[in-house]
């Protein structure tokens, strides 16, 4: 097997790079960025400076960004051809997660919205 063939091989998920310095640098950068994002999240959630209704969205964006940092710097997920299988599996996982979360919230909000207002008579019957 030639060197070129080898580089085209798949890489196991989570498999770090080859040089010691690169490997450690990847973890240090990841740790630093994750700490920055965590601190920002806690600040956003407690500061009175920001516009209240936007805080939830801001927190969600920060969390998703931090997950991306974990995937890239800790799990060494790349866009390279050797990583296609790992990324495809992840993409399918994200799709299922999105369907479950969005579907549940959508259906439950609809159910709550369409719930008949409580009838005092039924209420009494149920209590009795």
């Amino acid at each position: 097997m030639t060197e070129r063939d080898k580089s085209a091989n798949d890489v196991a998920p989570g498999q770090p790079h080859d040089k010691l310095l690169n490997e450690v640098a990847s973890y240090v950068i990841g740790l630093f960025l994750a700490l920055v994002f965590t601190a920002t999240s806690f600040w956003v959630a407690s500061t009175p400076v920001l516009w209240g209704p936007g805080i939830g969205v801001g927190l969600a964006v920060l969390a998703i960004a931090q997950m991306g940092i974990h995937l890239v710097f800790f799990l060494h997920l790349t866009s390279g051809p050797d990583n296609t299988n790992n990324v495809l599996a992840l993409a399918f996982g994200v799709l299922v997660v999105f369907l479950i979360m969005a579907g549940t919230l959508w259906i439950m909000a609809n159910l709550n919205g369409n719930m008949m207002p409580p009838d005092p008579l039924t209420n009494m019957q149920m209590q009795g």
Partner: protein, 211 residues
């Protein structure tokens, strides 16, 4: 069967196994890939718990809500220790790849200690909540909370047991390819738990306590 008959017609190599010209991947690729699929399915499980939590978060039945229960300082310490634990777990694997027994074991101990700190704070929080009458049977919100966060805690507990087992195995068996595969799977597991925790501290603790 059909591949063998159609192959020559299509001008392909008749020995094509359907696995590509290089044949099946080596075990060092296939095993972590299978474990990666398990982790993704585990994350799908967590997404169901997240969905039920989000649907039930306001169903407090007149009992305490997140605002009255959660302590952000504790959560910040938990988050930091789990993040550092994820970091040292990576360092342990880097040392393991170079067959450095001393550093591998040292970083694994540090990883386990940070994980234990996280777990201790979480159990302390649970005990405090149950003591003040905010246990899982108090309201639908609290049931969902204990299920979601408790499931993550159970995973951390399993991870701690795994760390201990693996330290002993590496000590006895050395850095054989089989041990390195297990080690890689463990780092995947541990990093993934940190990713789930990012979602938990954001959705449960921060969004639950914003004024």
């Amino acid at each position: 069967m059909s591949g063998a008959t159609l192959g020559p017609l299509l001008g392909e190599d008749s020995e094509n196994s359907g696995l590509g010209h290089r044949g099946p991947e080596s075990k060092s690729i296939v095993v972590p890939y299978g474990f990666w699929l398990f982790i993704l399915s585990d994350i799908v499980l967590f997404s169901a718990l997240f969905a039920s939590y989000a649907a039930l978060v306001h169903a407090t039945d007149g009992g305490p809500a997140g605002k009255d229960l959660f302590d952000r300082t504790k959560v910040a310490v938990e988050t930091t220790s789990l993040l550092l634990s994820s970091f040292t777990c990576g360092l342990a694997f880097i040392a393991g790849k170079r067959s450095n027994m001393l550093w591998t074991q040292a970083w694994l101990v540090v990883t386990g200690l940070f994980g234990a700190i996280f777990l201790a704070i979480e159990l302390n929080e649970f005990a405090g909540m149950i003591a003040m009458g905010a246990g899982p049977q108090r309201s639908a919100f609290l049931s969902a909370f204990f299920t979601l966060v408790g499931c993550h805690g159970a995973h951390i507990t399993a991870g701690l047991l795994w760390i201990g087992t693996m330290m002993a195995q590496i000590w006895v068996k050395g850095f054989s390819p089989r041990m390195m595969r297990r080690f890689l799977c463990f780092t995947l597991f541990w990093h993934a738990l940190d990713i789930v925790w990012v979602a938990i501290f954001t959705v449960v603790y921060l969004m639950g306590t914003t004024p």
